[in-house]
């Protein structure tokens, strides 16, 4: 280790502590709790009545459109971060500003397209 990634060592340690906290809370729970399972208790909960219908059902998932939109835009947005730190550096100024408007234009056009295609409204 050492160098750039050494600052992430503390992050890893904190992550390990997080694991210990969760595992600790669950083990204390294990020591203190009763355990008397019955078939009725382990049944799927549906507001107190026995589960209705089988475990396979078809439904229209409308969310996949948002997944597409998200994948397109969020991947774009990630590139903003390295750019954001240097765009106002001396000598860049206007050039990077123009680039930014090109970028914003693309995203705005994408959303406008989605909106015109009526993917943002539900029938």
């Amino acid at each position: 280790m050492g160098g750039y990634f050494s600052s992430y060592a503390a992050v890893l340690v904190l992550f390990a502590i997080g694991l210990v906290i969760v595992a600790g809370a669950l083990s204390v729970n294990r020591l203190l709790r009763p355990s008397r399972p019955t078939p009725e208790k382990l049944l799927t909960y549906e507001c107190g009545v026995d589960p209705v219908g089988g475990d396979w059902a078809q439904s229209q998932v409308r969310y996949y459109v948002y997944t597409y939109l998200y994948v397109v835009f969020a991947v774009d947005a990630v590139f903003l971060f390295p750019w954001a730190t240097i765009f106002a550096a001396p000598g860049f100024g206007m050039t990077t500003l123009a680039e930014m408007f090109v970028f914003l234009g693309f995203i705005a056009l994408g959303i406008l397209y989605g909106w015109r295609k009526r993917v943002l409204t539900w029938t």
Partner: protein
Amino acid sequence: MAEVLDVAVRLVVIIAIFLVLPLVAGQMEHKVMAHMQARLGPMYAGGFHGWAQLIADGVKFMQKEEVIPTAADRRVFVLAPGVALIPYLVVMIVIPVGPGLVGVDLDAGLFFVLAVMGVGVLGSIMAGWSSGNKYSVLGGIRSAAQLMSYELPLVLAASSVAMAAGTLSLPGIVESWQWWWLPWQAIGGVVFFTAGLAELRRPPFDMPIADSEIIMGPMTEYTGMRFALFMLAEYAGIIVISALTSVLFLGGWHGPFLPGPVWMLLKVFLLVFVVIWLRVSYPRLREDQLQRLAWVGLVPLALVQLALTGVVRVLAG
């Protein structure tokens, strides 16, 4: 050696904050909500205005039987609460509370925060899928859809601050903060806070949980300690989002008269109050309204903020 000790002290403080502040926020929610609804809220536990209510709840959760339904996918079901909770603990390491008072100053801090916070929502999707319950699956999928729609305005608003400060390090952002950033970044601040609330699935964005239609969404089948971990994750999330909003948009530790960490704490709890206030005031948004708000409302606003930030930054030199 001294260096290791220094890091150890910082980690201990972070863990103390992680274990205490969510409980304070939870108790505050009990009392503030109660008074806004002309009730008293908890009054018995601990004597004085029921201050120990959440400790009593914790003791109760500790002793509760764990029920894992036979239909559940056991391994994923068991892991989900941990996946929901731990990211919020890890994020706290980069949030500064005063000059030099930060766990680690990562140079990609802002990026780290956004990346790690996205993991927390996975816990809810895992819980929803593995429960083997139709209502849980619906809730899990709603969580996923909500994360996707609100992640984009969140990222855009955050990058506007990175543009203003010219750095991704959170202490660096607070150090370069000036009072006139308040109006300059106001749109971004509102977008960030709203999108953050939606990521936490807090009312009015609690469609994934929607207790009156899909029981409790992904958490329907959870009991005892694992349910408590989900609850802790929710309140830790409120603290993290409020702290991030203060750091990015409200100037973190900046403020007259009082020492920095006190200002930070004040700002965080002011935002926690707003979170509770919104929960009491607004009805739940319907799923399509929720998606519309993100794509037609918040994303264009965030783009306007980006343009504004870029123009002002370049013209002002």
